[in-house]
Symmetry: C2
Subunit: 408 residues, 2 copies
């Protein structure tokens, strides 16, 4: 066989190993009643240079992971209509805002006190900001608690702090040079805000105006193809104005969410996201160098960041929902603890830009794993017991969580 | 921005350009009442080094194209159950066999007479073998003629000659070294035959036995994930025994076809194939060097190959179905003319293995385009007129053709 064919064979092999490894890990973690996404991360660690050395970052794997993150965020965006965002109201906004400020400030101050640089401290703080919508929703669904008031507040706030987290990422990305340019920061921040507002308030109207024209297109899968183009195109656009590609992908999803029933977008992009997102999570694991933890002080640092991540959300989100009563505030606070996609993406961007070290990357990844593991048992403890414990598997079927890509 | 992020941005850019360009081309060709796949090929020629130079073969684009071809053939396999293959009967088998032999022999003899090498002649002959199931079915659907006897024979034979074409490819691939090893050829041929028989007669039973176990798996998308793994895994397996990856992918689809309703495989893999297959067709176009045609004699060679491709199918398939009457034989012969995926794949493999030249690759691509353009008007001419000419768009909805990936 020629070298190019062997090459294509190798690309296929890497793809197979990443996908099968990720799914095996997910299956094992599900059996341990943990989110499958943790299994994908763990598989990545095992497949990567730390253990087996089968998968390395390359043009192929980086491309797959990038596309995986983009279509994951696009699919998450498709689940959320602009109306959802406007309807969740004041409590959710308060919970989201305080739940972003507290972990960020705690993480930032602690790292500065520990002698880290401004940029590093800001990056880690930013990675501690966003609750994982997917993981939270899945846990609530498994506990049969999606219809409770606490759950509605949690979901609304989790959606909002995803956007806040993405905005923070946009701002933080501009620090890639290692120096903070305040003027540039302001511009990027304003651009991100303008982009967000346009996408939330205008884009979906533009899209619904386009609807009759789409119907006229000849190609069978026009709506699907336009979805792919919107997702890739807005990802590129957001990179152009200095934001992360995933921000654009998420916004593209939001803009198309109103049409996603009619155009069968959710249904068609779910398999795409299911297929591609494992490459993202597995490659995140691949990029963890277990040796990082061997260094003195890193384990202690990790423990402290985990603690602050948990306490920050508990206090911030608890304060934001205190007027609902102490018990509800506890539920909301605990429900907001898990960090996932967005935090990992922030850390991944930081690593790629060389603004955070391998060590800090491993710390953030561990934080995301620990917060995700900690939340389900705690939530189970504070939430009212589901009427039948065995109904978890059936009830998770029709809920948003189960159609939430990458959330299992 | 760091170089790695720019790199990811470039990968996204190439992806966007290939997808959007391909879909634009498909839309234009659809409006000209031609198969969209021709538009994707043409876009590739324009995006490639011949004209714009925006897309080049690289690890990323080759990987995407490879995966695109694999999931396309997997999705085609999912449309065909082993029972379908066994039920189409003697006429279809006769049409398929003679329709494979005639073009192959004509193409081979002509190229030998024109002074080409054995391997080149065999490769081009092999690329002239397989009718495009997708394109044919789509044309029949558009003409509202899918329920006619001629159509059933055409579809059955088109499915069979796809398999014959893939078997020929398996045999032909073993000639990659440029020398023909007859012993090795025999082994590969027997392996391919054994593989095919196992997949058609045994694999689907094994899969249906697995069904209850699949239901026990925890991960939400287990059946989908197993489909991906079967597709990638059997692609790798078929490469291991010396066949093309797509043969394994097609067989994986066949084996899972019986379960594809229950496991929602068709529905979930269609978006995947719709998303990925344009990269395959666009990259095929990218690999055409328009300069090839400037060389003396190539245009004449192309015209001759096109003529032989058309005449070979007309005579071979017409003879195979002559007992149905002359008119029916004409319909079947014409319906079998379009060449598509498999021929392009054979030529692509030949190009990658450096066994056929750029010039011959361009000839084969042109042959596939010409046969595809020629068939629809001829078919329209010999088939009974549809009752209402305007019903074409509605009737194409529930038919296999419209759920046929990459066939638009």
């Amino acid at each position: 066989m020629g070298s190019k064919v062997e090459n294509a064979g190798h690309l296929l092999f890497v793809m197979f190993v990443m996908f099968a490894g990720g799914k095996l890990g997910a299956e094992i973690l599900e059996r341990l009643h943990q989110p499958g996404v943790l299994g994908e991360l763990a598989s990545g660690v095992i497949l990567g240079p730390s253990v087996l050395g089968l998968v390395r970052p390359s043009e192929w794997t980086i491309g797959l992971a990038e596309v995986g993150a983009i279509f994951l965020l696009f699919a998450i965006g498709l689940e959320i209509t602009p109306q959802d965002l406007r309807a969740v109201g004041w409590t959710a906004a308060e919970v989201a805002t305080l739940g972003v400020i507290f972990p960020f400030v705690l993480g930032f101050l602690f790292l500065r006190a520990a002698g880290r640089s401004w940029v590093e401290s800001i990056f880690v703080g930013a990675a501690m900001v966003a609750t994982s919508v997917g993981i939270t929703a899945r846990v609530l669904a498994d506990l049969d608690a999606l219809s409770t008031r606490a759950a509605r507040v949690i979901l609304g706030a989790a959606v909002m702090d995803d956007i806040l987290g993405l905005l923070v990422l946009a701002v933080v990305s501009s620090m890639s040079s290692g120096q903070v340019h305040y003027g540039q920061l302001l511009v990027v921040g304003l651009e991100a805000l303008a982009f967000t507002l346009v996408m939330i308030f205008l884009a979906s109207r533009v899209v619904s105006r386009m609807d009759p024209h789409i119907a006229k297109l000849r190609a069978r899968d026009s709506a699907f193809a336009l979805g792919v183009m919107a997702c890739l195109g807005l990802s590129l656009a957001s990179m152009k104005i200095g934001m992360a590609a995933i921000v654009g992908a998420f916004m593209a999803g939001l803009a198309l969410a109103d049409q996603s029933g009619k155009w069968q977008l959710r249904q068609n992009f779910r398999p795409l996201s299911d297929f591609l997102s494992p490459f993202f999570f597995v490659l995140l694991g691949v990029q963890v160098h277990l040796q990082s933890f061997a260094r003195g002080g890193i384990l202690a640092l990790t423990a402290m960041i985990c603690l602050l991540a948990i306490v920050g959300k508990l206090i911030g989100c608890g304060l934001g929902s205190l007027h609902l009563g102490f018990k509800e505030a506890c539920r909301v606070g605990i429900g907001m603890i898990p960090r996932g996609e967005v935090g990992l993406i922030v850390a991944g961007v930081g690593l790629t830009l060389h603004t955070i070290s391998q060590n800090l990357y491993a710390v953030v990844l561990t934080m995301s794993i620990v917060t995700t593991i900690v939340a389900p048992p705690l939530l189970r403890w504070v939430l009212p017991r589901p009427e039948s414990l065995s109904s978890g598997t059936e009830t998770s079927q029709p809920l948003p969580s189960s159609s939430h890509p990458g959330a299992e």
